[in-house]
Amino acid sequence: MPDDERYHVKVENIFEGPMDLLVYLIKKHEVDIYDIPIALITDRYLQYIAWMKAMNIDFAGDFLLMAATLAHIKSRMLLPVHESLEDEDAEDPRLEITRPLLEYLRMKAAAEQLAGRNILGEDTYNRQPPKEELDDLKVDPSTESLQVSLFELIDAFQQVLEKIPGDHRVDFSEERFSIQDKIAEIVDILEAKGSVVFYELFAGKTVKAELIVTFLAILELAKVGLIEIAQQVQTGVIRLFYL
């Protein structure tokens, strides 16, 4: 239905979320944000939701959540005043919505300020040195420093994952990463000292998970053949040797 599509576009275009709608209502009715007439705003808000429903417009669940919050505040406002006065700590129930609204507006204002700056690529441009200018100034790659973002790395890996064969699935559990960290740590020690006493790797460690991770790391190191584990006959001391 083309008509439905049109409505769909409209609502999304106007109110990105419940906060947006609230700001609109408060502005439209010219009410003081520090003293929101909660009954009025709640009614208008619910009217709007009802209208969206009637028009068969899809809207996110966030809108309903906000409706519930507003209704809740409204009901708390209806409580007799003296009840809340007895409790010194009782605050205006409306703060539940005023605080986030103010924060939201502050951030909106900040976004406007950002948008008003001289933005690179929109208002101002930097020079793109022509290729010929730099061509004969080729650099030695071994001394280059690198510019790379984590996002690029993960993005590359995503591509790889798509072609990964079944027997090469990657384990993303946190434990797996902990073991990798531990392996790196043990290899660092072994690179420096050549060997290490088995129990030293556990010294001072009391958290069970870490003991297990350390043990699993040693097993993996032995499995891939990075270390040799040997026990001295006389002393019974177990040592790891870097191969």
Binding site: N13, V23, R106, K108, L114, L120, G121, N126, R127
Partner: protein
């Protein structure tokens, strides 16, 4: 000699695609008194300003960069055939929250905006305007976000301290209402559907 130095610095600024810091410039010049570099930059800035030519010296992202004067943006856009490419309102709001609240996690951002921000965060990550700073040590170990150097470059900011202080909101009739024009459209009248549709269409051109 001093003029030479200034012009060498100018040539370096000219070929560099990102802002150059005084330290970077001195890694090339190797002066015992790097303060001279700052003086030269100052002179260049004044010279460009007095001349009111096609470019100016911008102090941005911890360094200096020669940039075209904003006054000429319309001509340049025509030359580069660049469409009106702007960050959406949703993207700007999300970015503002990351910038002011960093280090910040997704749920905090969504709490403030009241809507899902996953797609916007991804786009900002892809464009390298924000980055992952690490993980927060709470259940679920969510990713922590912050802004990048590219963010400073894009928005012509010297550093994060250079971010304007967001104004306190007094009432909605004033500043807070900006950017709100679209919400002004009467909610129930039928013509507004068309308007909104048209606007949407424009955005995608």
């Amino acid at each position: 000699m001093r003029d030479d130095l200034k012009h060498i610095i100018e040539s370096l600024l000219f070929v560099s695609e990102s802002p150059l810091s005084v330290r970077q410039i001195n890694s090339v010049l190797d002066l015992r008194e790097p303060a001279v570099i700052r003086e030269c930059l100052q002179e260049l800035a004044e010279e460009y300003e007095a001349r009111k030519g096609g470019f100016y010296l911008s102090e941005v992202a911890g360094g200096f960069q020669i940039r075209s004067r904003p006054e000429y943006r319309e001509w340049i856009r025509q030359l580069l055939q660049a469409g009106p490419s702007r960050l959406s309102r949703a993207a700007l709001e999300t970015l503002a929250i990351v910038a002011y609240k960093q280090p910040v996690i997704r749920s905090d951002i969504e709490h403030i905006r009241g809507v899902d921000c996953g797609g916007v965060l991804r786009m900002l990550l892809e464009r390298k305007i924000i980055r992952v700073l690490g993980r927060k040590e709470i259940p679920g170990r969510p990713l922590i976000y912050g802004t990048t150097r590219r963010f400073l470059e894009l928005f012509d900011l010297k550093d994060l301290k250079d971010l304007p202080t967001p104004q306190e909101i007094k009432s909605l009739s004033g500043d807070a209402g900006e950017g709100q024009e679209r919400a002004e459209t009467p909610a129930v009248s039928d013509e507004s559907e068309e308007d909104a549709g048209a606007e949407e269409g424009q955005k995608n051109t």
